[in-house]
Amino acid sequence: MKWQSVYDFVFMNGQGWYVWPSYLLVAVCIVAEIFFIKWRDKNAEIKFKQYVNLKRVQDNESEA
C-alpha cells in the first residue's frame, strides 16, 4: 500500500485539492449526461402524445 494513511490518500501532500475535484467533475458529467438522455427520452414521449392528439383533432376536423 503506497498511501500512508487515509488522510494521506485524501490530501496527497496538498495536491488532493486538484485531484479530487477533477474526479468529481467526471462523475458529475457522467450523471448529468445520463440524466439528460433520460429526460430526452421522456420529452420524446410527451411530444409523441401531443402529436397523436394533434392528428386526432385534425382527423376529426376533416371528417366534420
Binding site: 485531484v19 467533475l25 467526471v26 414521449e45
Partner: protein, 248 residues
C-alpha cells in the same frame, strides 16, 4: 449468419432500436468494470512520485482518456455523417447526432482536467499555458458545439442531418490542420516538460484501461441517445406508435 443480409437488417431504425436496447447494459457493465480496475490500478498500484510531477499526476488518468475519446469520437462521428450522407441512411445520421454531445462532454472534461493538471504540476500561479493539445481541445469543443447547435436550430430533421454531415466532413479534414497549426513553434511557447517518456508500465496499463472504460461508456451513452433520437424523429411510423402507445 455472417452474410451481409443478416447485418444489413439492422441498418434501419426499426430493427436497430431493440438491438441497441440490449447492447446498452453490456457496454455499461464493461465500462464500470474496467473503470473500477483502472481506478484501482491508478490509485493503488502506481508508484508514488516525488519531484517535478507531484501527486496531481493522478489526474492524467482521466485527462488522457477524455482527450483521446474526444478526438476519437469526432472522427467516428464524421465517419457516420459521411456514411449517412453518401448512402442516404437515416440511422447513420442519427448515430452521428447521438455521438456529438458525448464527444462534447469528453472535450469539456479534457479541457478542465487539463487546466487543473497544468496548474497543479507546473504553475503555482494561474496562467493559461498555451499547450498545443489543450488548444486543440478548445477548438474541438467549438467544432462540436457548432455541429450540435446547427442541428438544434434547423427545424427540418432531414435538412439538419445533411447539413451537419457537411460540417462534420469538413471539420474532420481540418482537425489535423488545427493540431499542427497549434503545434508550430513560436517564441512564446514555454518549455513543455511532458511526462511519460520513462513512465512505469503500471501507469501505462492503468491509462489504457481508463481509455477503454471511457470508450465503453461513450458507446453506451450514444446508444441510449440514439434510441431517444429515433423516438423523436420516427413519430409517424407504426412501430413507434405501437411502442409508445402501448405504454400509455
Amino acid at each position: 449468419m455472417l452474410n451481409r443480409a443478416f447485418w444489413l437488417q439492422f441498418s434501419t431504425p426499426k430493427t436497430f432500436y431493440p438491438v441497441a436496447g440490449k447492447m446498452i447494459p453490456v457496454f455499461m457493465v464493461l465500462a464500470v468494470l474496467s473503470g473500477v480496475i483502472g481506478l484501482y490500478l491508478s490509485f493503488f498500484e502506481t508508484p508514488r512520485v516525488a519531484g517535478l510531477q507531484k501527486e496531481a499526476y493522478h489526474i492524467i488518468f482521466v485527462h488522457v482518456a477524455a482527450s483521446w475519446m474526444s478526438m476519437f469520437i469526432y472522427m467516428i462521428m464524421g465517419g457516420y455523417a459521411m456514411l449517412g450522407f453518401i448512402l442516404k441512411a437515416r440511422l447513420s445520421g442519427m448515430m452521428a447526432s447521438a455521438l456529438a454531445p458525448t464527444g462534447a462532454m469528453m472535450t469539456f472534461i479534457a479541457l478542465i482536467t487539463g487546466i487543473i493538471w497544468g496548474r497543479a504540476a507546473w504553475n503555482p500561479n494561474f496562467t493559461w499555458t498555451p499547450d498545443p493539445r489543450l488548444m486543440t481541445e478548445l477548438v474541438l469543443f467549438f467544432l462540436y458545439m457548432g455541429f450540435i447547435l446547427l442541428q438544434v436550430v434547423i427545424d427540418d430533421a432531414r435538412r439538419a442531418m445533411r447539413a451537419g454531415a457537411i460540417l462534420a466532413i469538413v471539420g474532420v479534414v481540418f482537425l489535423p490542420l488545427i493540431f499542427f497549426a497549434v503545434k508550430l513553434p513560436t517564441i512564446h511557447q514555454p518549455a513543455n516538460i511532458r511526462p511519460g517518456h520513462t513512465m512505469p508500465v503500471v501507469s501505462v496499463v492503468a491509462m489504457l484501461v481508463m481509455v477503454f472504460s471511457f470508450w465503453m461508456y461513450s458507446i453506451a451513452a450514444s446508444l441510449m441517445r440514439v434510441r431517444a433520437i429515433m423516438l423523436e424523429q420516427e413519430k409517424r411510423t407504426a412501430w413507434v406508435q405501437q411502442l409508445l402507445g402501448a405504454k400509455t
